[in-house]
Symmetry: D2
Subunit: 356 residues, 4 copies
């Protein structure tokens, strides 16, 4: 059974493992104070064209999210997210466990805009309610969509005006930056947000995310927070070496581009067979809608996740590709889908508002 | 400069890296629900001769400690630890950050006994004070000492009588089990404690600890806690594969035995030169006392940590060996120490109570 | 300017103050371990016809809510509430500050039903999401509505089946029990919920709520929680004496009945003038809809709160009556409203879904 | 049985109750935004000769302590206290429940000095340990002692130099200010600390403390914190009116002076009978040492608390006087003590270090 379930089903890109082997017996300091980590930070700063940011390597995404939010907000402040935001749904209340409310707004495409945020700000006007202190966005979003430069710019200006910290969850930043629709550079993301992270786990690393603090006020004593939350690896080098490998000659982008390319091939093939997508993803997550009969057939041969019921007879599922997805498997799947589709007439009526 | 600073200065034992490479491209489920992790759990259960325990792999020690304590205690309950306990000093208040007080008692050798704990229980008698709910011990301790079977047995019986959860921090459990003085098996540790962990990070893994829940009541829904604290790795296999490698044919013990052997050689050599140790360690941490002049000389060639000032002219430092410590480096150090010692007369008066 | 803003605008019912004076110089133990508190507990148990409940007096509503939720839920468990629920909006994230997520559902009348809760349960199916552990309802609700016996019974059965703790916020329980539509007794509330509180602050006391724990499992060590959250008053008698006074001869019900009666008079008068109510309240909170011009006029003479904009020209405001509301003031207001209404033609088109 | 157990055994001073009655039916805004509260704040500012402080009324001491500490510290910061400090022992881990470690030092007289604090600062030097961010002192202390002007001045300068917030718990500030040894004014306390509170509960109020924020940086949004912790009383006026009464013509000082006077009379009488005190208290808490036989006799007629065992046969107990302590009861007790003492020879050898 081949899996399109997620982008962390395999280990790491072989060059990452090679780097771990090559450096393995050199003695270094612990806790991210080693030369590999320092080198990785230098390379990332160069990549961003910004020498003044602070960069910390964290072992996973939930940890990075809870660290950013709990370290930067005052106790009574809340973070604003789309209802589909990862922190709102799929982190088992990790943010609330640090004491902060997540305020949500519905968003059709998983993205936030000043227009969506403003009513929340207006509603939270006095000390009987939490005070919005941060905006959390993800790029690419949980629906595979990405922020255009003008959209992030508008959001950035709005947040600065409203004194809201803008935090971008980049668990799948690679795929966003390599999307055919993307017009944002990593430098611009650093300029427009107050902090963000560059995801390694979902783009070829064994584990690890690079958390970037752009805003000066937020930099002080951040390592205390990392340690307190249990997120400071003794062998910090393990993440440092991986980011060094990912960024020293563009491997990070290569891997993301491959994932996007496989997704695009899959998308085109599926659409050619007459199926619709529930989200206009241009990255490595696809949300095709199939009849339940088709899905039952796919399930016999492929692993994936169910996303949401569209109606009684149709369901939206999620396919994810990655650096490790093989083109021949994509081709094989499309042939398989074609086969099982021929006996079915598709009559999918989608209620747009039912997606999320 | 050679480092005796800690046991996480290198990467992982080569066989662990080989295992990561060998399994690298197999697709698995995420979040520790993969076949490697399941296999590792089976092997660990067999090793413990106990099929009824629950085992979870966590990325680091602080995280394991804060998870165990925050998951098992009620909000108003506190954990009892030796003043030297890792959770009390070197985890940046990670336990308090989850809402729980750490109650401490002085202990000369880093170990707890019913006699040390009883006064704390007696003092905390009503709802104006926290309620002791757990006892935290480490084996080996932060001072390199270990629990004898009779000691752990006594503590275990006491805790059960007092309805206190007994939690053993095994960051350096390998070295404890392989100490020449040890008479405890891993099975007995499972029988005598309510939960404990087997440290990987400090015994040859890239990262990862195996948390074992022995007491039935504590098992329910533990994965929710792991996820909420950000400790559930997407590529859970990374830790599973490492523990599989460590335990499938005894590598775990080999590595710990090597670390102890190197420490013992170091200890004997240092003592032969007339120096004293501040702690009766039989594991991989040594606490020699040198004059400040000697320490200044050592610092030029070796990395280590200062532990505590003994008096104006003498200081206790910490040397740590590991699976990666080379015998030739131990011999070289002893020769070096002999050289610098010849010009110094040692006159070390130690105030016993000043050690900690 | 007369105020219909809330039900805590005056001090306490004079008989409560008299009781405080009468008992003032008797020496008692602190922290709610005094004879007045014990007596109040006995009377409340008799009132409930249930001798096995535990009763604790707490100084305020938010504190009672956060205590119940944080004491009874495990760290990864969440509480389900209506979107209008007090804990979700007007407590500055007090629940999240104790580590728990509030899961919400829209509810037209501020009440919860099994049908509204079930989709939340179904959606939260694994450890990547919080686990629903409690249902929070208020009676009367934030919209002035009340639970009928059959409704509470259905909810109670559902919660027990689903292993959800059912917690009823009774900040305005007096007005609910005295509503003309009510068919629930306080005994039945105790039988059907796992814990609830009887509000004093909003029904004639200076401060204080009586928190009742019905479910046995939840009773252990609750005073530790009260103390830890700063909610254990040194002079616990202050609340005990007030509840003794409220319940020793039915004052509690008299005061609530008066508040309801005044609200009813107000409601009838307003409706007779042709205005509509946005909520079918049968208790002491009214939600009339007026044109903005009318509201501006009212504002010159009366204090109240704006609830929500209905459309460009009409707004729903909130009027609250209490034990202290004077009938002559109600009559005066209605005359005033009649006066300012005559120059206005009312043309209120209400979009039902816009109320909340 | 007469009680010397504490200073909150009776209700409130009669003039406070009168004030509550007198203002009872005036309508005011809730949550401390009423004219009585505003007036009380004005009077307190005048009393302090400082118009720039912020003042908030809170319902109790533990709540004030946890609010100050959790609102002003960053997540990884800790508060330093004497081992006898109320927050360390008698608040059921309220501070840790907000996420912060309490770092303690032994102090013979319950007071802190720069010399006692400095080693803690030095020890906590990097991100593997919590960062000291605040110093908590109480005046009078838990042992009845008070800070002299020169002592508070030294501490204040030290804290400012070390960037530590200085917070003074004034649960018994009245008695401190009225001690015969006191040379500090309330204005000077405001100048020397960053925040402090003026205790009402233990000095004649039904409940309530006045929390004063002196340092500008700490003032922002404090009401959000109060609300979030459940400490914002709906009828905020209840505390406002009490402080208005206490401070409008010196009642606060009268009550404290009376408590001190009664304590002094008690102290002199006890010492004249040959007994010793374990603490040099000059305020309303006394710590006499009696043989266990004497204590058993006292227990038959009087309520008090046991403080600590001195040795096998002698125990230190605590007597507390208050605004409500009657002189005739003091005289009666001394006669009683004289009676029971005559049959006992006292031979009390006190090991000084055993007090705490």
């Amino acid at each position: 059974m081949y899996s399109f379930r997620n982008d962390y089903g395999e280990g790491a890109h072989p060059r990452i493992l090679e780097a771990l082997i090559k450096t393995n017996l050199y003695q270094t300091s612990g806790y991210g104070e080693d030369e590999y980590t320092y080198k990785a930070i230098e390379i990332l700063k160069a990549e961003m064209g910004n020498n003044s940011v602070d960069i910390h390597f964290i072992s996973g995404g939930t940890q990075t999210n809870l660290l950013a939010i709990s370290s930067f907000l005052k106790p009574y402040e809340a973070v604003i997210a789309a209802q589909t935001g990862h922190i709102n749904v799929h982190e088992t209340g990790a943010i609330e466990a640090t004491g902060h409310k997540v305020l949500t707004t519905e968003s059709e495409d998983g993205k936030l805009t000043p227009e969506l945020i403003l009513p929340i700000i207006k509603k939270h006007a006095d000390e009987h309610m939490v005070k919005p202190g941060m905006v959390y966005i993800s790029n690419s979003t949980e629906l595979g969509t990405i922020y255009k430069k003008s959209e992030l710019q508008a959001l950035s200006e709005f947040c600065r005006k409203q004194s809201l910290i803008l935090f971008l969850d980049g668990a799948r930043l690679g795929c966003a930056l390599c999307s055919s629709e993307n017009d944002l550079s990593i430098k611009e993301i650093g300029d427009m947000t107050d902090c963000f992270y560059i995801g390694g786990t979902k783009n070829g690393a064994l584990l690890g995310e690079a958390f970037v603090i752009c805003k000066n006020d937020l930099k002080t004593d951040f390592r205390y927070n990392i340690k307190q939350r249990g997120a400071l690896l003794a062998k910090g080098r393990v993440v440092g070496i991986q980011f060094l490998t990912l960024f020293e000659d563009g491997l990070f982008y290569e891997l993301a581009a491959h994932a996007n390319c496989m997704a695009n091939k899959l998308k085109n093939g599926i659409e050619e067979l007459g199926y619709k997508m529930a989200s206009k993803s241009t990255t490595n997550q696809l949300f095709p809608i199939f009849s339940n009969e088709i899905i039952d057939k796919i399930r016999e041969e492929y692993a994936f996740e169910e996303q949401i019921k569209i109606d009684e007879s149709n369901t939206c599922i999620r396919f994810v590709t990655s650096w490790a997805t093989e083109e021949k498997e994509v081709i094989k799947f499309l042939a398989f889908l074609k086969g099982i589709s021929q006996n079915h007439r598709m009559n999918i009526k989608i209620k747009k508002e039912a997606y999320y």
